[in-house]
């Protein structure tokens, strides 16, 4: 039972981690987040389903096209729901991103339909025996891809020009602007990246799950808890927190029973944050006035 709880937990945990990574990138650059990350995740799955199943494209092409559209959606989120408010010092982006997510969910409801659809990928679902446990290829791929994306993000921010520029924006937006760094562009890139992470999570979860308009809602919520738990200022922190959250969640279900899952998991989140207010892996931020 430990083994199967671990596998379930790591799979779900990497999903939370990927969504939370999306919260991290935008927060790091602009101190804002897209609260409707769940909708971005849903869009990834819906686009991939549309290209892959309805239009019959091969999976890699469908996934790539879906991610490109997700990136565009991320730009839209920044342009419509964040920038107009953040540039004027208002916190209304909180509400605006939620609203845009609801609009996205409902647009999908009308165009895609309310009936859940199955996105079957036989090669991804083929299961093998591993150390006495049955694991599907996808269940191995999800944490691998999740961690790889986190590593890629790490490399990108340390080794590329745009990444360094983005980090500069984090440290001091005003100074970065004076140094000739295009701050709005860096923020837009962060939003595009953020929805791409969520979209990737959506595409990977689709074969395990069903595709429908509000499939991302609960994920988005848990991912935000994960982002805060991890300390939203650390990329590795949020990914690790995601994995921990996933494993704790499925272990509680496996050992105490499903009646306790939500109660115990979220109690633990509160306790953890009470003990470490800046998250498990976050550093206390200094706010200079």
């Amino acid at each position: 039972m430990i083994g199967s709880a671990l596998i379930s937990g790591l799979g779900l945990g990497s999903m939370y981690g990927l969504l939370a990574l999306g919260f991290y990138v935008t927060y790091a650059v602009s101190s804002t987040v897209n609260f409707a990350q769940g909708s971005s995740m849903m869009l990834g799955a819906v686009f991939a389903y549309t290209f892959g199943v309805r239009l019959g494209w091969p999976f890699p092409a469908a996934a790539a096209a879906a991610l490109v559209l997700c990136a565009l959606y991320g730009l839209l989120v920044e342009l419509l729901a964040v920038r107009p408010f953040a540039t004027r010092g208002s916190n209304a982006w909180l509400m605006a991103t939620v609203a845009l997510g609801i609009i996205a969910d409902n647009t999908v409801l009308f165009t895609f339909g309310k009936e859940p659809r199955g996105f079957s990928l036989p090669w991804a679902m083929a299961s093998t025996e591993l150390l006495g446990l049955r694991v599907s290829a996808l269940q191995l791929a999800i944490p691998t891809i999740g961690l790889a994306l986190a590593a890629l993000l790490h490399w990108f921010s340390r080794a590329t020009r745009l990444g360094k520029a983005m980090l500069a924006v984090v440290q001091n937006a005003e100074a970065a602007r004076l140094m000739g760094i295009n701050v709005p562009a860096a923020i837009m890139a962060a939003y595009a990246l953020s929805t791409v992470f969520a979209g990737a999570a959506g595409i990977m979860i689709a074969p395990l799950f069903n595709v429908y308009s509000d499939m991302g809602t609960v994920f988005g919520l848990k991912a935000f808890a994960v982002a805060i738990l991890g300390g939203i200022t650390s990329a590795w922190g949020v990914v690790l927190a995601g994995l921990i959250f996933g494993v704790v969640e499925s272990s509680i279900t496996a050992f105490l029973g499903s009646a306790y899952t939500q109660i115990v998991t979220f109690t633990l989140v509160i306790v953890a944050l009470a003990l470490r207010p800046h998250g498990l892996f976050g550093a206390a931020a200094l706010k200079k006035v």
Partner: protein, 385 residues
């Protein structure tokens, strides 16, 4: 003078009244996830109404007319639609409430205003057993607490199940069935291996199922709509565990095979009717009428979900009998008209005294059929195709 005018107006209206159609209301989900089921109810009602009207209607030639409203599966919209149909459209009988919460919200309106409400789908036990002293709510459909007994009976008979594990969706419907299943198990002195809940949006139910497996479950009792039910089947697939699964009718509500994959056929679920196999004369007649009226129906496999069509058809026929018995469309008289139905050779069965003041449910556990998905069709278990 005023009184004279009134009398004149009334007498002028009388002949018109005699010809007036009798409106039958339907409040159901016509859009969204359950739209298919709402359409099935519509078709069952419409075929029955066409048949009744062709025979000259009831009450000396009054014909029936169907008025539909979409409740979008939400109680608030259902209540608004029910009020509109009762008070503005003045329907003689209101059909509807595909979802139990919607039906439960309409029940008090029907009872307070003494207007008949016929439930051809929602299975929530308290819809008909609503505690009202003067009950106007009838049902021709499955009832949760009876389905729960039938699930246990079927599992014991078919699979010799001794240690069933319960896997239930965590919502009011799952809760209602948990109560029913616990009662059914207790009545037979069976101890369940475990009772596990899962969320509507859960992706992975492996932890819950692992618990049931570890507790030695030899059969699973499943309650959940089509999406959640498919999650359970996919999780079982990943575990490589395939116990017999006996289910409420959730899987029938959508593309179960597409969602759950090839193992979908392992789930045996309850239905009230199937158009497959040898049909009674009524069954042949209804299928023929459906094929003539709806171009997308080419055979029994296209009548989906069959329970919606069958329940609505029988419920409409018996409602017409109730109105005929009442001699009017007045609510109280129609209600009592249902009690006066002695015998009706229907689609699902031959009903004998289907309704009494104590019993407002026309179907019992003996009327259920067990079905499974073979590809995209719901067919009775064990039928060769």
């Amino acid at each position: 003078m005023k009184r004279l005018l009134l009398i004149a107006a009334l007498t002028a209206a009388l002949p018109a009244l005699a010809q007036e159609t009798i409106k039958i209301g339907l409040v159901t989900a016509l859009s969204g996830q359950s739209a298919r089921a709402g359409e099935a109810l519509t078709r069952g009602l419409q075929v029955a109404i066409d048949e009744l009207n062709a025979k000259g209607g009831v009450l000396n030639g009054r014909k029936f007319e169907l008025v539909r409203r979409d409740d979008e599966a939400t109680p608030a919209k259902g209540v608004i639609a029910a009020r509109e149909l009762y008070f503005k459209e003045k329907v003689a009988v209101l059909f509807g409430g595909l979802d139990s919460p919607v039906a439960l919200a309409i029940v008090p309106i029907a009872n307070e205003n003494k207007m008949p409400f016929m439930d051809p789908w929602a299975a929530g036990t308290p819809i008909t057993k609503n505690g009202a002293k003067d009950n106007y709510v009838f049902r021709v459909s499955a009832v949760d607490e009876i389905v729960d007994k039938a699930i246990l009976q079927y599992a014991e008979k078919t699979y010799k199940a001794k240690n069933p594990g319960l896997i239930l969706v965590n919502n009011p419907w799952g809760e209602s069935n948990e109560k029913g299943l616990r009662a059914a198990l207790a009545a037979k002195g069976v101890k369940p291996a475990g009772i596990e809940k899962f969320e509507q949006d859960d992706v992975d139910v492996v932890p819950q199922l692992s618990r049931l497996k570890a507790a030695g479950a030899d059969c699973l009792f499943l309650v959940g709509n089509v999406g959640p039910s498919s999650t359970v089947v996919k999780s079982l697939d990943r575990m490589g565990w395939m116990p017999p699964i006996v289910s409420h009718w959730g899987p029938a509500g959508g593309r179960f095979t597409e969602l759950a994959g090839p193992s979908a056929k392992n789930v045996h679920f309850v239905q009230t009717y199937s158009f497959f196999g040898p049909q009674s004369p009524v069954g042949q007649k209804v299928l023929k009428a459906l094929m003539a009226k709806y171009s997308d129906i080419k055979g029994p496999g296209d009548v989906t979900p069959a329970v919606g069509v069958a329940n609505a058809y029988d419920a409409m026929m018996m409602s017409a009998m109730a109105i005929q018995n009442a001699g009017s469309t007045e609510g109280r008289k129609v209600r009592d008209g249902y009690y006066k139905i002695d015998r009706y050779e229907g689609l699902i069965k031959t009903y004998v005294k289907p309704f009494t003041p104590e019993n407002h449910d026309a179907l019992s556990e003996n009327d259920y059929v067990w079905a499974q998905f073979i590809d995209n069709r719901i067919v009775p278990v064990g039928m060769k195709h």
